[in-house]
Symmetry: D2
Subunit: 334 residues, 4 copies
């Protein structure tokens, strides 16, 4: 009953998932790997007792592979996901599902044509225990109907290759999915504020940025993205409803009193903050595959995030309010 | 050396200040009062051993009156403040300094003509211990140069007479002044977001609202105003700088663990939250008057707040980004 | 209707109260002062427009003096309080009421003989807003019947003249009164634990110490006294009841995130922590005197604290469990 | 390289560990189980594809079993651990190592005779992330040399079969081990305070209790055990050192503001609080076995806890201060 998993892409996130499947999760094993760098694929395959394939396509085609995890470079995601759909195999795609909304649409169309849900997209916030408490509070009516969501996404430092559009596509993308999921509705417009740039950044980068979204029902969500905040990795989210508010807790850390101060450490990396969420994410995917069920963020969620991200990048450049051209969600994805 | 104070307006805030001067502050005493309702003025005068005057003008003119506190209806503030300036007497005006920017300008012009600073405007946040810690952290470079300020101003309920413009003129006005003071620079543009309206409000009211400001140097400040939040009076402010953040603490309240929950009370009124700030505000005004010094928010601050409030109301109605037509600050106010 | 107050003792705490009465409280004024150091008394008298008396006895006898505040050296408290009782004048005595239980008994006897309550003792914790919330939670049944109280009393540094007995008589004495007040019952036995001494103390001092008390009904209270804790002035109190717990909050302080840490300042002095409680204490005393009422900790509370302190010091030296020889409280003090 | 594990005892904690090894941990698999209830053993064996053995002795003897996890009834622990030592097999024993200090001594003697460390005892606090931060702060000198430790161990409800001695042997036993580990020294004396009993308990039970320990160097540790506190499962630990304090954080939980209160949920079970610690505990044991290393709490730690527990129970009954007759630790356990 073990799910035999093929992993395409053995870079940082790919190896992380391979280790996760082998060491932290139950019910699955990595039987196949592939990578552009075939030597690396071979080395990892040897280590985990899997088979290395010369290409993702061959890995997907292999009969021993029950399900595929795509962790290759972002521009190749769509091709591999489409390959899996063609082969009728369940596939977990790291975010983004594709680098263009058009490619996401192709995936969505192919999955509907296949007649059943096979794709899960890697938005791991939905698997974090704190976010799940927040979602439960919203769904349980603890704060009444939502009116506003305030989000903060801060990283201590960004590398030079991180450019202004990535504030949306790599960073706020997590909040984009989280907001859609928390509200259970679509976003309809976006605007991007560009505060004075921090001096502690590479010169080409607009950092920080504030994204402003409106939802179908008129909920307003704001997302502060600040990827050179120096002091830590800091994720905040407060939902404001008609009768109350709910706010993610800060991670629990030892409280030390000394030298006239009370201090607690602030996490420095997303790994510190979200490792457990990634474990749960992959575990629930394996469980769903084993039981032939659907679970987690769908291809539609990946597509919607891409549409919203496109509009957000457009808004960054235009400085104006951009509407988000979201088609109606097919019943297939209800 | 006691400062003899005349109080114009003996309504809710006026009587509060009279009690404050008599019971909480040192160095001043109320010797004169006036009110449209002359019976009320007489009753209060009798109680505190002061003299009741038939009009504010006569109170200002009285030789025994060293300094004047204006707590009458907002539309009358400018007239009384101008009267004090004409008489060369120090005056504390409750906010707003005037109900139009034009009237504020008249005050500013008259004060400059008088040749010395005589006016303090009642923005009491600047006297709150938590805000002062925040100001000190900013001025002391603890978080580096500021980039963003996030403010929240929530009240449990608004009365029916509270209308949409008052979200700016009565509520966000405190944040408008606080932001200018914290940043020590002017605001240049404003936009107002109008989230879905809470069902728990009077029908005419846009509640909540989110005001978005930009400053001279490009700092972005956002202010959530939500005056029917049901759960309490909740003031939040977080400044984000190039190297760190500083955030007002929540008021200290007993922590109780019972019935599977840890709970602490949330303040319900501005009195609970800011009474001490009012005490300090009036005390420092009396001290300044006694020592012939200038202190606290100036007429220029009152004028600037009026200009910003006007632009904010305009932005609420236009739905667009409005520039704030702020003249350069005269050296007189440095 | 102003209460004319005579202050005996113009040292640190005496001048503090003089300033408090003049500047922070309403309804009272200092009309007379005396001090062993007659020059100091004269200087202060001149400053606040009061009369200096050559002795406490003469001050008490003066017809203009309505009520007396005793802030002289501790060994003289009893004499002055007895003098006030003889003169039929209300008196506020700084803690301790007397330096021996026998002297406290004399005060209690004299007050009963006088036939009405005239004495308030300076245990200011009862006037602190946080403690009052705790008392209200206990009295309101929010945590059920109390079973345990955990107290912490830490100071950053102790001067060389601070000796081991003072951990009880100057420091834990506040918790002794607070525990009696919170529980509304008497303490019956005491034991003192002597942990390894901190190296950061003067050699003669046992620091820290842990006092263990049992009450009439079997509630157990522990008090950690640590007067060289280096990092700050830290007061903690948690009551544990049959259905829940209640805990004093830490003072609200700005939260700063920088350099991988979240920090908030810890108060360094009792003034930072309890200044407002002192203001309320003296204000409520003045109000009570003006209205011929009784208020606050009584002579009996001063006596009970002395009896408990004596037993605590005995326990420190014996290392064993000492019973507390508390007589039944006369109905006069109910 | 997979460690083949035999599990003796398939009750609540035994099945929990079987599931943990199969689903959460890497590097080990359950190949053998035994239980007094042979039907249950057979059912579980079938489920996890292991072999059921009629007795623990036969399981230990089986050549396929590399290492043994003992989770049977407490009185049988020593026998199985001794069997493993005789067979030269690594063994993880749930706490207690044995139900008498004499039996623990036999284990310690047998392990020394075997010439290498084979036993790990199930004190899982040492594997909890918060406790590890606390240990690191102590070891890193962040608070100076320790002087006091304050512990709280509260459960919402105790079953009727829970008796007064179990406050030590089942509850405080975790703090006993944690204190020894945090301080890295032995405890020398103990006293037990018995507060007024809560009305919300079974009649025979002394609840709450406060255990007072002294260490070799004079550190004082107190442990409040309150197993019918009603409101939740609450574990607290504060270490006080010469220059500062360090305190375990409360578990992070969503903060909700509504109905005039801010609330967060309090955990209700040890599973909520310590499940991850158990996962880490077993993972590190498997890793150590695989690498032929020693790790975690030793047989000596199990023995020391038993000696301290015996003295604590004696102190509960005597009401006095009991010395803890701890032999010097053999160099074998350094
Ligand atoms: Mg992901
Ligand atoms: Mg004001
Ligand atoms: Mg006092
Ligand atoms: Mg265990």
């Amino acid at each position: 009953m073990t799910v035999n998993i093929g992993v395409i892409g053995t870079g940082s996130i790919g190896s992380d998932h391979i280790r996760r499947i082998g060491e932290k999760c139950r019910g699955g094993r990595v039987v196949a790997v592939s990578d552009l760098d075939q030597e690396r694929a071979a080395a990892i395959a040897a280590r985990v007792d899997a088979k290395a394939f010369p290409s993702g396509a061959e890995l997907i085609a292999n009969a021993e592979v029950d399900a595929v995890l795509v962790a290759s470079l972002a521009p190749t995601h769509a091709e591999y996901v489409l390959g899996c759909l063609a082969a009728g195999k369940p596939v977990f795609s790291e975010k983004p599902l594709a680098t263009t909304a058009a490619d996401c649409e192709r995936v969505v169309a192919a999955e509907q044509a296949a007649g059943r849900r096979l794709v899960q997209v890697g938005f791991m916030r939905r698997f974090d225990s704190d976010y799940r408490q927040l979602k439960a509070a919203l769904d349980g009516g603890e704060i009444g109907d939502p009116l506003m969501i305030h989000c903060v996404h801060r990283n201590p430092f960004a590398v030079e290759s991180y450019h202004s559009e990535m504030a949306t596509t790599d960073t706020a993308i997590h909040e984009i999915d989280a907001i859609r999921w928390l509200l259970d509705e679509e976003l309809t417009s976006v605007q991007v504020l560009t505060p004075r740039k921090t001096s502690r950044r590479h010169a080409h980068l607009q950092d920080p940025q504030i994204m402003l979204y409106a939802s179908d029902s008129g909920v307003r969500a704001d997302v502060e993205v600040f990827v050179n905040c120096q002091y830590g990795y800091d994720i905040q989210c407060e939902a404001v409803g008609e009768t109350g508010t709910a706010r993610l807790p800060d991670p629990a850390r030892l409280s030390v009193r000394s030298q006239a101060r009370e201090t607690r450490a602030v996490p420095q990396t997303w790994q510190e903050r979200f490792t457990t969420a990634f474990d749960v994410e992959i575990q629930e995917w394996i469980d769903a595959v084993a039981e032939d069920r659907t679970s987690g963020p769908s291809a539609w969620d990946g597509y919607a995030a891409a549409v919203i991200a496109d509009a957000t990048v457009k808004a960054l450049h235009s400085g104006g309010i951009e509407s988000i051209p979201m088609p109606a969600r097919p019943g297939f994805y209800d």
